[in-house]
Assembly symmetry: C2
Amino acid sequence: MGLGPGDPSLLPPLARDALSRAQAIVGYGTYLDLVPAELLVGKTIVETPMRQERARAEAAVDHARHGTATAVVSSGDAGIYGMAGLILETMERRGCHAQIPWEVIPGIPALAAAAARLGAPLTHDFAVISLSDLLTPEATIRRRLLAAAQADFVTVLYNPCSTRRTTLLPEALRILAAHRPPTTPVGFVRNAYRQGETIWTTTIAKATAHGVDMRTIVLVGSSSSRLVGRHVLTPRGYYPATPSDNNPGTFDKNPVDTGAEAL
Amino acid sequence: MGLGPGDPSLLPPLARDALSRAQAIVGYGTYLDLVPAELLVGKTIVETPMRQERARAEAAVDHARHGTATAVVSSGDAGIYGMAGLILETMERRGCHAQIPWEVIPGIPALAAAAARLGAPLTHDFAVISLSDLLTPEATIRRRLLAAAQADFVTVLYNPCSTRRTTLLPEALRILAAHRPPTTPVGFVRNAYRQGETIWTTTIAKATAHGVDMRTIVLVGSSSSRLVGRHVLTPRGYYPATPSDNNPGTFDKNPVDTGAEAL
């Protein structure tokens, strides 16, 4: 299940109820810290380090197979680069995915939290790419960056820099910059809706990896995105590309059928 | 602000509080129906039809400029194909984006709700494409589909079919099928977490547009995705590509640093 960005005000009742009902809560320490303290009381807490996702999944499935109501927590949404896949895969390998009742409880993903903080960058088609090269060959990451650049997707970068890996973000920015105007906005959101939240925006011509870490989401606009003050806007096309003047009253009597809002 | 899929159990406290504090609530009728009834009592309700997004945004900004606490509601996340962009653009055109206090309140996006219902399809890089051609040229949509296909992104399709537009989804499936194994899973989620929820999965060789409408999210796996029972799994790479046997105890003593969970 996903905890969202970490602020309890962004934890929906469905997730809170699942935590409340759980007898065991399994997660990486940093994520367990995001669980409201009152929901941990009296529970079996299984804390595993960052590098032991497989052991974490095995432990969770062990508990569930013994009939323990078990919640595995990820920050953001558990399905987006989160633990949901590994849990399902572990159940499959152990032949119990059809026996144990399980569900994925969605959360507010880091990409939605970052976008909200930046304004409205994701109103149009977008690509989501993790720059972590630990489970994905660098060549695949580069190929996806190039595809996103060439097809003019707004591009969301997860895991942009680690202490060890610092060169892929500058390279990603260069790949994207080669296919966008130099004024294309880039937004950075570190620790969205958490203590120490930091938000900054710049243009792709000026963007650097300075201040970026694994807790930062980097969001690069498409060729139609622009800065509005310090915010990022990707216009959806309701108005002509350039705001013409300060005469907002002149919209169509029969505005176009957009058919394009989120479902 | 985003209402999430529509079930009150997926509406986080931050969104509920904003609705509670709002003096005016603005939205398309179908979205207003998703607002818990008790939060509408005593409010000014501004309901505009589907085709009048600009009028809706103007009305919302009018209210806000008069000092009325105003909430504009979208389903899912307001930043993902939702109203957030048009509101910011309208404020910019009227020169009041720096004067009116405003914020985007994130919600659970349709893509996360659909993914949760399907299992774990989004554990890896993905592209999000709307098939609505009303504000986007068809050539741009095709270019993005081809890029997503070639770069092996898991692909999420919003607005896959309308009553008028029925051919673009079959074409999208053909474009993706040309670059994926015929066994690649495709998941369909109609009305996620709402009354009449329908979920079905198949392979890309067999997928058709039958039963798909504007309220359906279509999710096409990458070349590494597979069906697990009726669920869709995109393995993240913690285990070898093919589950070897039923010997789950043999994981590394020092599992790889994934560095790849959601932030």
